[in-house]
Symmetry: C2
């Protein structure tokens, strides 16, 4: 098969691209390298089945042109930095919703009918039900990021009904592991690499979070593609448990052999729109036979190891 | 108070504007007259408290400039024609979501914190629960129109959490009555005015629909503004019953004194994305003491009367 992967130089997109190439598929990768890294495409570039388009998804003509002859589209490009949405309120709308429209129109122009989309647990806002199932009550949006992903999902779903598209939509918890380049494990490591004596934690450290290793995430995606065949397939992807931010602090410090002095920002949220509790009900994907190989602790420790082994990532961010 | 009304020359927006002026408020009306009519601003223009800005909401600078010194914003401009979304798939995203971003940013620049928004029952897609409450399970979008209004709601909600905005969001069934200029009552009348002998009905006529008279709609909005004081207030607005498309056919023909030969497109939907059953649970707004004055039949008959008295509307559409 010939797959189109947006965000092919990003964290999840590049892991996915490598896996598709391992399975002997052809991959047309598309990235504007705004947050992706050329280093993450090194493995892919060794394959004759990989071609890289360095362009912006806002360039609708380039999207249409480069999508020619592809069989399906993994749309994984995004502005994934939930925390800073309020600093530039157009960015999420543009990078997550409008860009998704360009991808869908590129598909329509090329008669490609299958989209696989990286959505987010953030669109559940602050749910009343834990673990939170896919069909929870219609949420109130608490972040521009979540709102923009919900908008993108709505567009995709409308294209399914209106133009006969098929979609696999995945609502991720925070994904961790090799090539992780943003989020709070990254921030903690960055602080500790700069000063091993001190660590400042946003919020009170009691925020409850769920993480999933990127290998498990990619496994789950392939598992769903093989086993879920509705026109619109929506899956939560996460662990069957959660941890406290303080647990992750402990695991990170342990992995680095450090005992820093801790300070806290206070309050039950790290920032405006931070969700004090994320815990997804993933029984739908589990009922199809998938289960994660890594624990939350494993996935955080493997992230720390990646960041230790690749200090250039921190310099470039 | 000094209110800003987008879509002030549209169906609901112009009715709302007249009511605000009756209450001695000042109104800055904004319309690009793409679907609005100058004729609908005739009453408003007689008031010294009304000023009209003829401009496009895509012109972010004009929005910001004209919003100066307003206390709250009624954002009622929209592409409201759900049926033709698939003919121009960017239109709903642009006119309903991106434009809402411009309105919100205009508010932020002018330190206006209160938005009143015309949303839609279409964002419920094809719900499993009837009557459908506001907190129904997270729906699958079945129209670009519904998807774009859901996107706009998400933006508004994020601005409430992120920037301290306050919102009243109203999810309407089809609104009917004076100044109604699109939708199926309009289409039926148009056909019958052209040829009183024949009427073609999309679908099988058994689609179940709910309608609300525009006066009741405006009453409900003011009632909610007075009585609902959360940061984010979301209300379904509709009738406590529904009718068949065939019922409306009968009432329209009766009102016009006609007995046309009927033909049917067939199928349980009028078009792709048409919802065969719309029936909202409006107990939230009813519990605040509002109830409609007009029956569904009244509201349809008053629409027919308006269209009979204003044949220019059909010529201009």
């Amino acid at each position: 098969m010939r797959y189109y992967v947006t965000g092919c130089a990003g964290f999840i997109g590049s892991n996915l691209t490598d896996r598709l190439l391992q399975q002997s598929h052809q991959v047309v990768g598309y990235d504007n390298f705004s947050t992706g890294f050329h280093e993450f495409t090194t493995t892919a570039k060794k394959s004759k089945n990989f071609s890289l388009i360095e362009a912006d998804l806002l360039d609708a003509a380039a999207v249409k042109e480069s999508m020619k002859d592809c069989d399906a589209v993994f749309h994984f490009a995004a502005n994934a930095d939930i925390r800073f949405g309020l600093d530039h309120p157009f960015k999420d709308l543009e990078q997550n919703a409008i860009v998704t429209y360009n991808v869908l129109e590129g598909m329509r122009a090329n008669n490609i009918k299958h989209i696989i989309f990286s959505s987010t647990s953030a669109l559940y806002g602050e749910p009343a039900v834990f673990p939170t199932p896919e069909n929870v009550q219609l949420p109130i949006q608490t972040s521009l990021y979540g709102a923009s992903k919900l908008a993108a999902e709505g567009l995709i779903q409308s294209y399914c009904g209106g133009y006969g598209f098929k979609a696999h939509i995945f609502r991720f918890v925070s994904i961790t592991g090799p090539r992780y380049t943003h989020g709070h494990v990254f921030d903690f490591c960055k602080q500790l690499f700069q000063n091993p004596e001190k660590l400042h934690v946003l919020g009170n450290g009691l925020q409850r979070k769920s993480y999933l290793h990127v290998d498990d995430c990619v496994d789950a995606i392939f598992h769903a593609l093989e086993n879920a065949r509705d026109n619109i397939n929506i899956f939560n992807l996460g662990q069957s448990n959660y941890c406290l931010v303080n647990d992750s602090v402990q695991w990170i410090c342990q992995a680095l052999g450090l005992q820093p002095e801790l300070s806290y920002g206070g309050g039950d949220r790290g920032w405006v729109g931070d969700n004090p509790f994320t815990f997804l009900d993933c029984s739908q994907i589990r009922q199809l036979g998938w289960e994660p190989k890594y624990s939350i602790q494993d996935s955080i420790v493997s992230t720390v190891k990646f960041l230790q082994d690749n200090p250039w990532v921190m310099e470039k961010r």
